[in-house]
Symmetry: C2
Subunit: 118 residues, 2 copies
DNA sequence: CGGTTTTATAACCAGATGGTTTTGTAGCGT
DNA sequence: ACGCTACAAAACCATCTGGTTATAAAACCG
């Protein structure tokens, strides 16, 4: 699972402004000024965030006269969630008991195969 | 959904070394030197990464004489995956057709309710 | 043509990040 | 008591990040 895709995706998601932009884009395409409106931030500030999202492949942009409408591209989010899914058994409620059980058997953890990049 | 938890979690996951450390911890507890072994990096370098993971709540540490064994704490990963789940319909294969359909109806997207913090 | 809207670019700044080397410290083993 | 092991802490460095202001360019509007 491509490491730098995950790098860029997680890094992009680590900022609340960018997450809010993605949330806004769930409602449909939006121009830069529309996206900037809800935030107490300058327009170039938003443009920078959009560049980060674009380089992470989370946003694509079209053309409409002067406007550059932004569109949500969710594919990298699937990569992220696929990676996270490898840890699912570790946060599930049943894991507490399972872990204790396997611990008594001198085991390491559930499904402890080569999960290098899970 | 607590924003700073997601901030810290996604930021921690944005580094391949830290993701590899988490992957290693799926096999069970490990000491700092055990964790440092696979990497071409100094021990303090790994300790810094561990501090990031610890502050994100992804790792907890015990005591065993001089050793400070690290343990995976996956709860924040659930938060992350719960947030991502709000975008699930946007990357699903069926979304292409659904989006096109809704687009013809002048709609915005699937389930376009207030997903501010999905 | 001239002005307005929309966006991008550049230059700059403070602070975080990712790494290093060096040094210190706690606890074990002999 | 001595030295070794395991780790942390500090100081330092380069680079990235998140923000700003000011400026420029592109396309519309009248």
């Amino acid at each position: 699972m491509a490491a730098d895709v995950l790098d860029a995706t997680f890094a992009a998601l680590a900022d609340p402004t960018r997450r809010a932009i993605l949330a806004r884009l769930m409602e449909g395409e939006a121009t830069v000024t529309e996206l900037a409106a809800p935030f107490a931030m300058s327009q170039p500030g938003i443009s920078k965030h959009l560049r980060v999202l674009e380089r992470a492949g989370l946003v694509s942009r079209g053309r409409d006269a002067q406007r550059r409408p932004c569109r949500l591209e969710a594919a990298p989010l699937k990569e992220a969630v696929d990676w996270l899914a490898g840890y699912r058994s570790y946060w599930e409620e049943s894991y507490q008991r399972l872990d204790a059980l396997l611990g008594e058997l001198g085991h390491d953890g559930p499904d402890a195969a080569e999960r290098e990049t899970p």
